[in-house]
Each structure stands twice: as structure tokens, then as C-alpha cells.
Symmetry: C2
Subunit: 226 residues, 2 copies
């Protein structure tokens, strides 16, 4: 009787992580820093990109737009002369509610990595599954709009824990909402103690300088994390 | 040589639809009407239920609360003495971003169907996957908050097409947003022509009478659709 013993290696990566590492290696070779930008639908990811896209001195920005279908956000950014690649999850990916490493990999041939320093991957609007899939990014940023309520960190803890920066958006609406900012920040610290956060408004411009500086640091090969 | 011929029946249901039909049969036996309530995170599903839950004359309401984790929304409704069953997708369902028929079925033993007339299933906050899974409901309702932007019907067409009623919520914020209501309604009609819609505000009460009447009709065995 012939037997083959298959040894399961401890710490073996799942398929997504393996592909994410391959993406990471390609980004490194091209000296491109990558940010995975996530939020619920309509929290303002595209607006916050629009507002700083043309104001990143010395930094060549590129965007990979993830959507179930359509290219409306990509069109908005392309109008600012930002190189944008659209990745739709409906045709070919079964209408997935998130991007994974393999989808991002499928988009790499369309990205001129040599011509950009910082790639922002705008994920599908969803607070659950995007947090479960690394795509080869350096950092994850999430946008939480105050219109969504104070309890969101407690309801979607994985998403809030998974990111290095939380942009608290639509802060201009504070006077018009029953939203307790202290309570939100307390809830945020409950699930991700001390995580970096910036209060922003794509409408009034509040906090956009800080957001732009964060992206500029991230895009700089010297200061970005290894 | 022995051969077994397996005939694939045309129109065979997938597993989810089979279980949804079983749920439907159980609901019918108990004479319970069922609404599947869906939206993006923070659009106001729970608030809109809270505002009408104690104001449905002659109708016994029950709620099945779907969340990744936690029971905050269920607690809010239980405080109003509405019978609520919490269904968390994190333990046992892998942190799923939606409810499916099998998850709802797993909750049936905890639901006193004989003691309610109308069951509202509050789905996980997500505009993608919940629309792909029937759970045995009579009708699907979605809440779209105007803070999410006018283009949401075009970006998440399946969700907007899948439902019988769209609640356009947070209408009180209209003066404070760059939101073109006519454009939103035009986009809505592009993907789901003529779908019933009610403009509502859980805060000011606008449209809540109409929403309550819709639920009352749905919960009435005579007038509800077969």
C-alpha cells in the first residue's frame, strides 16, 4: 500500500493572503505605496479623494475604483486627470460585495505602476466583508460618516479594528444631527484603542489638510511603513 | 457497467430558495406576514421601526434582528415591548454580511409565530448581498437615506430593483445637503420604474403615517398579497 503523507504547514497562508503577498511584491518592485479605502455606501470615499487628489505636491496618485457595477466614481476622478482603473465585481466576480486580492491582481496589468507613487484602492461600499480581505496594501483607511450613528464601531468592530486611520466625515452636519461625537469616539476607542482619527468634511474642507498630509506621508518612500 | 442517469430538473431551486419556501410555508401556516427590511449601515432601519412599532392598531408585531454581532438594535425594540429575536451572523455563520433563508430558519424555533401577525426581519446593513437571498418574506422594503447620495440606485441596482417599497429617509436633512431629490427619484425610476416610495424622517415624523399604514396593510391577512 502506497501512502503519501501531506504535512500541513503551520501558518500556511490562505489563497487570498498568498495573492495579497504577490500584489505587495509587485507594488514594492514599482516603489508604489498602497492604501485600501473602505466605508459604508455613501460615506464619502470618492468626495474625500476628489478634494485632495490634485493637491498632493510631488506625489503621483493613481486610483483603483471598486464597484459592483458602473463607473461613476471613476469618472469623477478621471475628470480631475487622476489615472483611474475601474474594477467591477458584477461581471466575472459574481457581484461581490468587496474586493479581494485576486480581483486587485486581475487589475494590475491595467495599472501603470511605474507612473504612480501612491495607489488608492477604493473598495466596494460595505462595512463587513472588505475588512476580511487584505489586497496587498500598506495601510487601510476607513471613512465613517457621522450620519451613520455613534454605535457603528460596536456593530462593525472588525472594520474599525482593521484600519490604521479613521476619517470621521460629514462633520459639518453635527449641528443638524442627534449625534454624540464623544460617544462615537468612546465607542471607537472601545474597539480600536487610540486608532488615528481625523474629523473631516468634504463639504466645508475641515480636516482636509490633515488628510492630505497623511496621504503625502504615506506616499513618501522614506516615511511610509516598511 | 452500471450507470445512473441523473436528470437535472429545469427550474430546480437552489438551496436558499428551497429553504425560503419552507420558511414561507411555516409563516403561512401561522398566518404571519413577513417583511425583509434592508439598507446600508446607519440608514435608519431600526429608528423607522421604533417610530411605528407601538402604533400599529390591532396588529401584533414581531422583529427578527440580523446583525454581525451585538444586540443594540434588538435592545432598542425590546424596550418598546416588541418581541425581538436576535440573529448574529458572526458566531456560527462566519460573520456573514447578509441574512439568508437558512439563518432565518435557524431562528424560527425562537419565534412565537402564533403570537404575531407581522414579522419584520431587519437584515444586516449592506446594499449588496442581502438583495441576493430571499428568506421567505412577502415583501422587501429598503431604506435609502438621502445622506448617501443621489446615485445609489445606479450603483446598487439589484437592491433597488428587489424591493416593493423604498423609504427615502432623513428627508429632514434636505436643506443641509447637496442632495438633488428629483435626481435621486429619476435614478430610482431608471432602475425600478414606478416602485412605491415614501419620503420619511424618523426625526421629524414626516411620512411616518404613510409608512405605518403600509405596514398595517401588509400585516392584514385580507389585503396583503398572496
Amino acid at each position: 500500500m502506497h501512502r503519501t503523507k501531506v504535512r500541513i504547514v503551520e501558518g500556511a497562508l490562505d489563497a487570498n493572503d498568498t495573492i495579497a503577498q504577490a500584489n505587495r511584491a509587485d507594488f514594492d518592485r514599482a516603489d508604489v505605496r498602497v492604501v485600501n479605502l473602505m466605508s459604508a455606501p455613501g460615506a464619502g470615499k470618492t468626495a474625500l479623494l476628489e478634494r485632495v487628489a490634485t493637491d498632493l505636491p510631488g506625489l503621483r496618485l493613481g486610483v483603483l475604483e471598486g464597484d459592483v457595477e458602473g463607473s461613476m466614481d471613476a469618472d469623477r476622478l478621471a475628470a480631475l486627470h487622476v489615472p483611474v482603473t475601474q474594477l467591477n465585481t458584477a461581471p466575472g466576480f459574481g457581484g461581490e460585495c468587496h474586493l479581494d486580492a485576486n480581483m486587485v491582481r486581475s487589475a494590475l496589468p491595467g495599472l501603470a505602476l511605474d507612473e504612480i507613487d501612491l495607489l488608492v484602492i477604493e473598495n466596494v461600499g460595505n462595512l463587513v466583508c472588505p475588512a476580511e480581505f487584505r489586497v496587498g496594501e500598506d495601510a487601510r483607511v476607513m471613512v465613517s460618516a457621522i450620519t451613520e450613528g455613534e454605535e457603528k464601531p460596536l456593530k462593525y468592530p472588525l472594520m474599525f479594528r482593521a484600519c490604521e486611520l479613521v476619517l470621521v466625515n460629514k462633520i459639518d452636519l453635527l449641528p443638524h444631527l442627534d449625534f454624540d461625537l464623544d460617544k462615537f469616539l468612546y465607542n471607537l476607542d472601545q474597539v480600536s484603542p487610540g486608532v488615528e482619527r481625523i474629523l473631516v468634511s468634504a463639504k466645508t474642507g475641515e480636516g482636509l489638510g490633515e488628510w492630505r498630509d497623511w496621504l503625502a506621508r504615506m506616499g513618501s518612500p522614506v516615511e511610509a511603513p516598511a
